[in-house]
Every structure is written in structure tokens, then in C-alpha cells.
């Protein structure tokens, strides 16, 4: 446990030392401030547009932090050969993967918390109906989203360089968001083996779209019902467990 914490702390220090996070935070403040000050044909009290844009910005920036920080961990350690003294500690490869994952989640969750706090301030201070349950659900779903993204990126970093991993993760995000409904509809509309095939594919794909509460928050819909929130949390943990288990298994067999 101590070794995992030590690896995670290193990543956390990296977040503090590097400028990426501060740049994104300032950019977000500037963009949201600018949009809030915009006037559209003298029509007052326009809120949903800022809520919508702000939420997208929070998720996108947090996604960037998670992907960039997680994608560079293993390839950088291998390239600079710092992995050898690390594994000689002694530290099992599974623990190394777990440490990198925990660090990735911590870093992105802290960044997300700060981004989300800024967003929440705009949400609360702006006019219109406020739904604090939904705002809290948005936070929980955001953290779960980052857990999933970090696990996925750590898993992929077994095979890919940092740049390829970042590109593929972004592509996966777009594709999954756009096409998982196609799989769902296929599973529901067709009958027999085709439906089963669609269903299997649907279960295998990591459902990053589950975590997106943008429309609910921006347009003031009702919060997600409680059992679904719990189901999403359980789903995230189960999926991450399998991703990390296989990541560890592959990394264990990898020649360094």
C-alpha cells in the first residue's frame, strides 16, 4: 500500500509542478467569465448555454489531464529505464500498474474537483433553476468517468506510445459516445444471433457515455434515479478491475 501511495504521490507532485493544469484552469475561468459577460440581443438571463458549455469544458479538460498523465507513465519509465530500479525495490508489476492507476485517478480527480468547483460557482451564481442533487451526481459521474478513462489509458499504454495512446483514447471516446446507441438499438431491434452479437459488443465496450450528464444539468432535467447511480458506480469499479487485471497480466509478461 505504501509503495502504491509513493508512486501516486510522485504523479501528484508532477501535477503541481507542471503548468498544464494551471493553464487549463485559467483558460476555463477566462472562457466562462467571457461567456457570462456576453449579451445576446439584450435578452437577459440566458443560462443553459453557459451551463452546457461549462460542463463540456470541465469534462474535456479533465479528460485531457487524465489521458496525458496516464499515457506517459509506463512508456516514459521504460524509455528512460527508470523502471528497472523501480521494479527492483521490490515492487511487483501488478503493484506498479495499480500505483500508476491510483496516481492517474488522484491527479485527474483533483483537477476535476477544481474545475468542477469553478463550474459549480457559475452554476450557483447564475440565474435559473438550480438542482443540487443533479450537480452532486454530475460530480460523482465525473469522478467515475475519470476512473474509467485512467484504467483504459493504463491498459492501452501496454501496447502504445504516449502519442498513440492519447490519440486512440480520444478517438475511442468520440466513437463510443457516437456509436454505443447503435449497438444498443441493434441489440433491441434485431432478433436471434444478430441481437446476441450486438448485445455482446454492447457489454464489452466501455460505456463512457453513461457518465455524461451534460444535457440533464444544462437543461434542468430531473436527476438520475438512485439505483442507476449506484449501478454506474458498480459498473465502473467492475470494468476498471478487469481492465487493470488484464493490464497487469500483459505487463507481467512483457519483456522490458
Amino acid at each position: 500500500m505504501r509503495t502504491i501511495w509513493a508512486i501516486s504521490r510522485e504523479m501528484l507532485m508532477e501535477l503541481i509542478r507542471k503548468k498544464d493544469f494551471y493553464v487549463l484552469l485559467i483558460l476555463m475561468l477566462v472562457l466562462l467569465g467571457f461567456l457570462s459577460s456576453q449579451s445576446f440581443f439584450q435578452v437577459q438571463g440566458v443560462e443553459r448555454y453557459i451551463r452546457d458549455f461549462g460542463y463540456s469544458l470541465v469534462m474535456f479538460f479533465s479528460f485531457l489531464i487524465a489521458v496525458i498523465f496516464c499515457a506517459k507513465q509506463l512508456p516514459a519509465e521504460i524509455e528512460s529505464r527508470t523502471i528497472y530500479p523501480l521494479l527492483a525495490k521490490p515492487l511487483s508489476r501488478f503493484k506498479l500498474i495499480l500505483g500508476k492507476y491510483t496516481g492517474g485517478v488522484m491527479v485527474s480527480a483533483i483537477a476535476f474537483t477544481l474545475f468542477y468547483s469553478v463550474y459549480a460557482a457559475f452554476y450557483i451564481l447564475g440565474g435559473g433553476g438550480r438542482n443540487f442533487v443533479l450537480l452532486f451526481q454530475g460530480y460523482i459521474f465525473g469522478v467515475m468517468f475519470l476512473c474509467m478513462v485512467a484504467a483504459l489509458v493504463i491498459f492501452l499504454s501496454n501496447f502504445l506510445t504516449m502519442s498513440a495512446n492519447v490519440a486512440l483514447s480520444a478517438l475511442l471516446y468520440v466513437v463510443i459516445n457516437g456509436f454505443s446507441t447503435v449497438l444498443r438499438d441493434g441489440a433491441l431491434m434485431y432478433k436471434g444471433p444478430v441481437s446476441v452479437l450486438y448485445g455482446i459488443m454492447y457489454y464489452l465496450v466501455p460505456h463512457l457515455e453513461f457518465y455524461d450528464l451534460r444535457i440533464r444539468i444544462a437543461h434542468g432535467w430531473d436527476p438520475v434515479i438512485a439505483w442507476v447511480v449506484w449501478a454506474v458506480i458498480v459498473y465502473t469499479f467492475v470494468y476498471c478491475f478487469f481492465l487493470l487485471y488484464f493490464a497487469g497480466l500483459i505487463f507481467k509478461r512483457k519483456r522490458l
Binding site: F40, F41, V43, A187, H207, H219
Partner: protein, 278 residues
């Protein structure tokens, strides 16, 4: 080597950013009104893509109108074609009744209760169909604004924006501003001329100006492809403007034209008879 590559990329990027806004593919006399210099630099940089972005912004306004969820296109379609069938049609979108041992997933179908991911997906997604009402309508304004600003030649965006500003948000002055700017960029648009005419008729009582714009709109309309409903729209406001000015005799040829377009409408025949007999 890396620094050199980076410098080359930066140079080309800078060159593109500096040159792209200066390129105006419409730089000829007919469309001399298309002054790119009036647009913000970022919009200039979009080039011809601004037409696509502008339309996307308009679609976003439509999405906001439906609470961010979108709408059943066929539902709106049938509402226009046959309002009597609307209720029956909407019924088709009601939830499917699941057989025993299954759970219904909205209108999509039904699954076994243990098919948890599909059920979660159904409950996270929003499948309700709403239209914004009252105060909430203002939420579409930013997208209309961007649609108009990004592409000053998007006539649909201009007329829609002015309509919502004047009729929904009580901002006729802003609506006039949008239309006047729109007319500068699209002087031959019958839609903008017609909308200006309608605005003068409805909001100012300046019927002479209304007649001027509507006559011009009719002239441009006749030069372009159009349907009989568009023609009726312009003629109706033109007739009403002439009638408000007390120049009813000028409306006779218009009623005759409307009668040609809609021979079944007894009201036009009646009016022609009245005007013909003084």
C-alpha cells in the same frame, strides 16, 4: 531537428492564420456586399465553413428548443401535413408494453430484468419530448445570435432570429437591427424584405414602408423558385398594408392572383366580386 520542424510548422500556421482571412472567394461585383473585413477575425478564419457552422448553430437552437433532446422528425412532419392524425401518431411514441418477465425500455422495446446495462442506458438517456415555453424560450437566443453572426448570408437564421426577437422576446428594435444588417448582406433576399415588411406592418404601423418592402419582396420572390404558400404569405401582408392605407383598389390584382393560386378559397372570389363592383 525537432526545433527546426517546430519552427516550420509554426511558420506555416502563422502564414495560414494571416492569409486565410484575406481570401474572399466571393470577391466579384455581384456580391460586393460580402465584406469580409466587417467580420471578426475568427469568423473570417472559418472561410466557407462558416456556412456549415452557422447552420449547426441553428440546429443547436432547435435542440435547445426541445430541452437538449431533439425531436421526432416524423412527428413534426405529420403535424404539418395532417394535424388530425397527430394524436394517433404521437401514440406510436408511447412506451411499449412489455410481456411478463420483461422490462420495457421506453419506446425502444423490452429486455429481461437482468439486462442491466441496457436498462441503465435507457434510464440515463432522456427520451421525453418537450418544447420550451414562456421564459425558457430565451435559452435559444445565443445559438440564433451565433448563427447570424457567423454567417451573415444565412437568410433562414436572420429571419428566424428576427421573428423570435420580435414575437417572443418583445425586442422589435433588435429584430429590426438584425433584418437591416441582413438586408445589407443579402439585398436580393425576398425573405428578408418580406420579414421587414411584416415587421413594419405589425410593429410600427408604418404601412407605406411595409408596402415598399413587401413589393420588393414580391418582385424578388417571382424571380426565384417558390411555392404558392410563400407567394400567399407575401401577398397577404401586401394586401393588408394597402388596405390599412385605404388603397383597396390596388389589391384587386393581388386577390386575382391569390384566386389563381387557391381556386377553392371562396373568400378570394368574394373579395374580387366586392372590389370589382366598387
Amino acid at each position: 531537428m525537432r526545433t527546426k520542424t517546430l519552427l516550420v510548422i509554426l511558420f506555416w500556421l502563422a502564414a495560414t492564420i494571416l492569409i486565410a482571412p484575406r481570401v474572399d472567394v466571393y470577391d466579384h461585383t455581384y456580391v460586393s456586399a460580402r465584406q469580409t473585413a466587417d467580420m471578426p477575425a475568427l469568423v473570417q478564419l472559418l472561410g466557407e465553413a462558416r456556412s456549415i457552422v452557422s447552420n449547426m448553430s441553428l440546429l443547436q437552437a432547435d435542440l435547445y428548443m426541445h430541452g437538449g433532446v431533439g425531436h421526432f422528425e416524423d412527428e413534426h412532419g405529420i403535424a404539418i401535413i395532417d394535424p388530425e392524425n397527430l394524436e394517433e401518431h404521437v401514440d406510436k411514441h408511447k412506451e411499449v408494453k412489455a410481456p411478463e418477465g420483461y422490462v420495457a425500455l421506453g419506446e425502444m422495446g423490452y429486455v429481461r430484468p437482468y439486462n442491466i446495462l441496457l436498462r441503465m442506458s435507457d434510464l440515463i438517456d432522456i427520451s421525453e419530448h418537450i418544447h420550451l415555453q414562456g421564459e425558457d424560450m430565451k435559452e435559444i437566443v445565443p445559438w440564433l445570435y451565433y448563427s447570424v453572426k457567423i454567417d451573415p448570408h444565412n437568410v433562414l437564421a436572420i429571419t428566424l432570429t428576427s421573428y423570435y426577437l420580435s414575437e417572443w422576446f418583445g425586442k422589435p428594435d433588435e429584430a429590426f437591427g438584425v433584418l437591416r444588417d441582413g438586408l445589407k448582406n443579402n439585398p436580393d433576399s425576398w425573405q428578408i424584405n418580406a420579414e421587414l415588411g411584416r415587421m413594419y406592418f405589425t410593429h410600427t404601423g408604418d404601412y407605406e414602408t411595409a408596402v415598399r418592402y413587401l413589393s420588393r419582396a414580391y418582385e424578388f420572390l417571382m424571380r426565384s423558385d417558390h411555392d404558392k404558400f410563400e407567394e400567399r404569405y407575401v401577398l397577404t401582408y401586401l394586401i393588408r398594408s394597402y388596405e390599412a392605407l385605404g388603397q383597396e383598389e390596388k389589391t384587386l390584382p393581388m386577390y386575382k392572383r391569390l384566386n389563381e393560386l387557391f381556386p377553392q378559397a371562396a373568400i378570394f372570389q368574394e373579395r374580387i366580386r366586392q372590389l370589382s363592383h366598387g
